[in-house]
Amino acid sequence: MLAPTEVDGLFSALRSMAAQGLGIIFISHKLNEVRALTHRCVVLRHGRVAGRVDAPASTTSSEMARLMCGHEIVPPARGPSTPGAAVLTLEGISTSQHSGMALRDVSLSVRGGEILGIAGVSGNGQRALAEVISGVHAPDAGKMTIAGKTVSRFSPRDVQALGLGRIPEDRMTTGLVTNLPLADSMVLPRIGTEAFSRNGLLKPDAIRAFAEAQIKAYDIRCPGPMTRAGALSGGNLQKALLARELAFDPKVLIVSQPTRGLDIGAARFIHEKFLDMRAKGCGIIVIGEDLEELLMLSDRIAVMYEGRIVGTLDSADASVARLGLMMTGAEGKA
């Protein structure tokens, strides 16, 4: 993944190569990039050509999105926010080098009914941040609270019990068990709770009923709860992961790259769910690289660089250009 300034560099290189007579095929689901770069565009849907655009620069993104999805896509409107008390705070969190970039003295807070975006070029500590908040790794220093309670033991089960929900960055490796039935993945984080087991015995009927209800509520396309999770499409898997977290009304939700690799229709569905949760008073942290998406969803955006938060902007004051500059390490003071 490239920072916006690097994208500009790549594009100018591609343009000069094209000017020298090279034919270039550019494959992407980022409509604004396709519009900015290409001379002609072919839209594929389900393995067929769904449309051709002869002058991408002069069409709108929504027109191309319509071709991609086969129906109109209306971007969700983010209403005014009425944030409540802080539901997640980090104070001076530092970690050792366990997976990529370590965190250095990170402090942030998210209030109920607020979406905080975390922008940054991949590899600047986002993974460590997500792992600390999800309870997978304990920090070396610092304090974290969830819904006003200090986290004393960092384990996925403990932070979940305090009200944290989590949509992992990597659906296939850290979210789901692709070889087992979908229902198993959907109850995995809460298998030890009263909802799905008692005295060490599973409640197979309750597990099945839960999975079936979520499949229906989220319109997850699959033959049934006993389908192998790996057989589902990315968008449906993301819906399943969202369903399993939202079913238990988390107070804080942390999501990483929520729509990476998803088609525009599935992405829109995920966005709407986040905004629904925000309206219900849930605090949401969205870690992402797609700045357009962060700007559309977030109330505030914090930028990470080399394991630190270099600045936080209200999204009204933020722009792709400004965030892009901060992501490369330029100080983020207004």
Partner: protein
């Protein structure tokens, strides 16, 4: 041209069809060897069948032979579900045999002796399995290698015991003192060797199925085996699950040794197990790691073993054929398992 293509789902009848297919392929492949040994294939397999399953006494003998392999098969099936690669069922069986023999030699009321023998054997097997599991969890030592090598360690420890302190001072044979007569497992059918351990094995299989399919421990074992990362992120203590699995697996393998001491040999000698621990791997694979499938798979292998001896006497084909059949069955099953994940597609020239 043919090509392997990934399947999105596996039909349910595959669970039954694949082992049968593998067994069929094995018998066909091995018929060549029988012919090479100069015997009639149909005659040889006929003797094999009638000697192992042909009459009620043969059936009881086959069941007695199947019993330790049901236990080791369950041990391996549970372990492999969690992807704890326990190749050490053989050593765990021997440890269970030694421990139960030591307990069985102490005079006490029969039922109490049998219960304590089972507990001691299970504990000894579990303790042995704990070693490779701990090495893997704490130091990331490969469990295939450590559990396999431990088999030799346990075997030579057993040899040292029966060549040393346990040696029969009368005859000088390297065999342990016998257990108390009261500790001998009761025979269920007059005139046969069908002992209490056989029933225990037949009860253990559905019990272990229940543990794997219907308990949170079983859920955690399955998830940890399929995707340890997702398990860890989902709040499962993967290390603890591996240790629990090892203890359960080792205890089951230990019980195989208890059955051999209490129900068949009543003492420990160097050849108390003709590789039942390794056969457990074949059994578990034929059963596709399903505890209920372990019973028929173990009975099949037991029939091959008892049948091969009779066949050897009647036709002159070496009894080693039984081991060849076991090995071939494992390979055939591994090939057959490929078809649960892939299908063969004929690839024509593209239009």
């Amino acid at each position: 041209m043919f090509r392997l293509e990934a399947r999105t789902s596996t039909p349910a009848w595959f669970n039954l069809a694949l082992p049968l297919l593998a067994i069929g392929a094995t018998l066909i492949l091995c018929s060549g060897l029988i012919a090479l040994a100069g015997a009639g294939v149909v005659e040889a397999y006929g003797v094999m069948f009638s000697a192992s399953l042909g009459d009620s006494y043969a059936v009881t003998e086959t069941l007695v032979r199947a019993t330790p392999m049901i236990f080791t098969g369950l041990a391996v099936a549970v372990a492999f579900r969690a992807k704890f690669w326990n190749i050490g069922a053989e050593g765990q069986l021997l440890a269970g045999a030694v421990a139960s023999c030591a307990v069985g030699a102490i005079p006490m009321p029969g039922p109490l002796a049998m219960l304590l023998m089972a507990l001691a054997g299970a504990a000894a097997g579990a303790a042995v399995a704990l070693i490779p599991a701990t090495l893997r969890v704490k130091f990331r030592v490969d469990d295939v290698v450590s559990s396999l090598l431990l088999n030799s360690v346990i075997f030579y420890a057993l040899m040292a015991l029966i060549e040393g302190p346990w040696k029969d001072s009368f005859s000088g044979y390297p065999i342990s003192p016998p257990i108390e007569d009261t500790a001998n497992f009761p025979v269920l059918l007059e005139g046969t060797r069908l002992h209490l351990g056989v029933v225990a094995a037949l009860v253990a299989a559905p019990l272990i199925w229940f543990v794997v399919a219907r308990t949170t421990l079983g859920f955690r074992i399955r998830v940890t085996g399929e995707n340890p990362e997702a398990a860890r992120y989902g709040g499962i203590n993967v290390e603890r699950v591996l240790i629990s699995t090892a203890l359960l697996s080792g205890a089951l393998a230990g019980l195989a040794g208890v059955g051999e001491v209490g129900g068949v040999h009543f003492q420990v000698m160097s050849d108390i197990s003709p590789g039942y621990g390794y056969s457990g791997i074949v059994v578990a694979m034929l059963a596709r790691l399903n505890p209920l499938g372990v019973v028929p798979a173990a009975i099949f292998l037991a029939a091959v073993m008892t049948g091969a001896e009779a066949m050897s006497r009647a036709t002159g084909v070496p009894a080693f054929l039984s081991e060849v059949i076991q090995g071939t069955a494992l390979l055939a099953m591994l090939v057959a398992l490929l078809f649960t994940a892939y299908r063969i597609r004929r690839v024509g020239t593209a239009k």
